[in-house]
Symmetry: D2
């Protein structure tokens, strides 16, 4: 029998993820705050719910892919949230990037309701979301992870159980500080080389063929050269994740000197009016601050 799935949040990542579930043959009911985004899903065969409750009430698995911690709280715990509509034994899987404390708070409420919760944030771009090749980190009970793994693998090429509830949300932030600091040091490196007579195009080419050539670097290479083009992930969004990571670090007592330094450059990016540009804009900040 076909598994029934609810999917909340059809943004840049959520839409292609939900689409992959529909295409895989699941019975998917989608919900989005602004209804027009549901159209492509409806055309592909998804049912469209008029409320969060409706999206959740018949589902065996409910996915959420929302913008931040507050949105997750609203969607699950808010006055018109879906908590009371969750079926006993169903699984709520939050794939957003949120504060691990909020993730654990939601997990507790869901458990109290007789359902299960996993935090399952993803690593990967919109393109990987479309291809269904995201990397998925999973926090929560391992047996629950096993139960839903097949469904997750319609959206991602791998899932890894990383620890109890909140662990995956934490790891996602830990991954994002790597991404943000790496971008910052790439910016420092390319501008430094440029001042020493190496054209940025050549520096980026050398880096793209060096030991530090991660998929991330290759993907971002054009933005190292043209930082202010279309934004995949804005400087302000990156700073939101940095803020959560630094807060978590303070609570758990972990010093993050490089992250803290890079975070101030993100603030500078915002101060220079680049907050809504891609976080590659730190390159523009370093370039402007070095006289050119």
């Amino acid at each position: 029998m076909t598994q029934k799935i609810g999917f909340i949040g059809l943004g840049r990542m959520g839409s292609p993820m939900a689409l992959n579930l529909v295409r895989a043959g699941y019975s998917v009911t989608v919900y989005n705050r602004t209804p027009e985004k549901t159209k492509p899903l409806a055309e592909a065969g998804a049912a469209v719910a008029g409320s969060l409750a409706e999206a959740a009430s018949n589902a065996e698995i409910v996915f959420t892919m929302v913008s931040d911690s507050t949105a997750l709280q609203d969607v699950v715990l808010g006055p018109v949230g879906l908590l009371d509509s969750l079926q006993p034994g169903s699984v709520l899987i939050d794939m957003s990037t949120v504060d691990p404390k909020v993730s654990r708070q939601v997990a507790e409420a869901v458990r109290a309701r007789g359902a299960y919760m996993l935090d399952a944030p993803v690593s990967g771009s919109t393109m990987l979301a479309e291809q269904g090749t995201l990397s998925i980190m999973v926090g929560g009970e391992e047996s629950v992870h096993e139960r839903v793994r097949e469904v997750l693998l319609k959206m991602g090429s791998r899932t890894t159980h990383v620890g109890p509830n909140g662990a995956a949300a934490s790891l996602k932030l830990a991954v994002n500080i790597i991404i943000g600091v790496t971008m910052e040091v790439l910016a420092e490196s390319v501008v430094l080389a440029q001042r020493a007579g190496v054209a940025p195009e050549i520096a980026v080419e050398v880096l793209s063929n060096s030991a530090v050539a991660s998929p991330f670097l290759k993907y971002k290479a054009p933005q190292l050269l043209q930082p202010l083009g279309p934004a995949a992930f804005t400087a302000s969004m990156m700073q939101k994740d940095f803020t959560l990571a630094l807060q978590m670090a303070r609570e758990t007592g972990v010093p993050l000197p490089a992250t803290a330094a890079a975070n101030e450059v993100l603030t500078m990016a915002r101060g220079l009016g680049l907050g809504d540009h891609d976080f590659a804009a730190v390159t523009t900040v370093i370039r402007q601050l070095s006289g050119g």
Copy 2:
């Protein structure tokens, strides 16, 4: 006719690089300050010189692969240096990681002697040196680069002309701050995740399959878990390169906030007695500083 090559400096990198030249059939004369390191090369067919002058005097190309700027100055410009033995029209190729200012100083002296100089530092580990698959950045005249390219490709899988004399030495430092800062943020990330309940092994596995999974990360993954094993590149050596990069940045007016922050963690590593360990020891520093 076989090309005659001199090769100075048979350390961890220089030895396998020189060996690849011997195996490629060139007529190679090697020199090393401590003679015992010349044995494997001699067995492979290299001639062994008793002095720098002897290594250089008949060579069409002289390679240097030494530990630092001072060593390069000594080897070329010192009282028993090879400068006066360089053949007119020959090419001195320094593959060490040195201060770009020193590289340019040597280039000028070599030019005054009627010979040519390239700075050609490499990106890659001992393993890549053995395989002959290093990445080689080249600074100096492009026509000279063209002339020696075939020889360089016996040691590396690619060479890139990046600018005038000193440009490649500069780019090498710019690459090394990426490597050092990346290691620092990996340390911050793994310890942060650990405090949130993610076992380091799992964090490293997830990172190794994520967008930030560079060859460097994969190569260093075991050391993220066991930072104090055998050292490929020590914390003190990394700090030497950071110091050169920060000095160059100050001279050219480029702010490097993340590099500066990571550099202080390298100092902490030295202060905690870890200077002669691999620079992955920053992981130990962050771990110790977060209460264990």
Copy 3:
């Protein structure tokens, strides 16, 4: 007619401050969560309230001097908070160091109740509190400040109206980052000089007679030499204020690179088990991290 005053919070600072009001002849009713701290005040002539409501219900001015933002919210807005007991036209003066956002939130609730609110945090040690020579920053309506100024001057030697509600709470955090960063650079300086052969006692003596010899430096000089003695203000408390300041900075878009760097050293202090020591413990951190 004698002015009636309520005073909530008899900690290290609150007790001597309230005592100065009693001695100045005001009719003071005190309240403290743990009642034993009220004894010295009672002996000096204060009335002791059994509840927050009782402390506030007859007062023309109510002072709060509590540990943090959450305590302020509890005391004013909580289920047994004093909000509903405030007399119309009375003035609530919070002298604690709190999140400016919380201060403004409380001010709004107080205004809705028909009373007035000032944020009036203080600069100065317990000693200055005893002497009644604190510096008092005041946020809120200037006319309200004028009205209560005479009373404030029983606790401090000067009051300065600095802006609307929340402005003084903000300025207090801005002052505290100066104090915390100054301590950090004093630590760096003294350890650096020591490694160069200058005994710390001599370095501190020279500093105490130099252009940077603030009252703060003179007051802290003994702790620069013996950082782990009795704590006036712990590393953890300083980090709480740094966290609020960094959060405020992020919200308003102000980069704080030195503060961010010093904040990570406070985290290190906590990680090394020094969180409950005076924030002068950063000296111990820098010393330990420099191999001695």
Copy 4:
């Protein structure tokens, strides 16, 4: 009998210092690279030397007050330097701010010549130099310090023997990082408070009456409000001292995270074209980077 003194270097600090010696009745011979600066001294009664050798050859004490380490090396050890003109038993007192290594190198050469060397850098502004109320740190043999103390006290209000040769040069750098980092955090603080609604004039007034109100802060208060007026000590000069301090820290293994972070802001000041402005220009940097 009147003591004979040579004085080399009549810049902003050197001129008033030398003048105080003339006025105190010593027989002073001055030398400056650009001769016009000697006029006011000549008018006050100083002899003017035409060469370094002449300034040193009859002197019992020779003072140097030059711009940096290279200038000191030139003046003492250079081809036309004064070393060979020093009288046996005479004392060379360098009051400049220089690299401690260079100071020790010069001390060794002076000792080899049969004379004595003290490093005696000063703390204080041009105004204090004019008043003869500088603070003087002294490195070298204590007995030599005793011998010249009376003369030093014509320029300063106190002298402190702080350690062997080089110790005072080191301590001077350690003092300067306090001054530079303090300016940076004052900048951060004032801009942060401003964004929260506190006018900079009021913030500075409060700070000037707080525990952090050092003579330095009071002296710099106008520049916190108008950072780009006439420069007492430029951002570039401050960075030169920071660079020496950071280099010394790296050599002795002392982490300086706050200093390193503030140093990058000095680089930013230079990048924004403010290098020749007073180092108070960091306020302009932070303000520009926070959106205005």
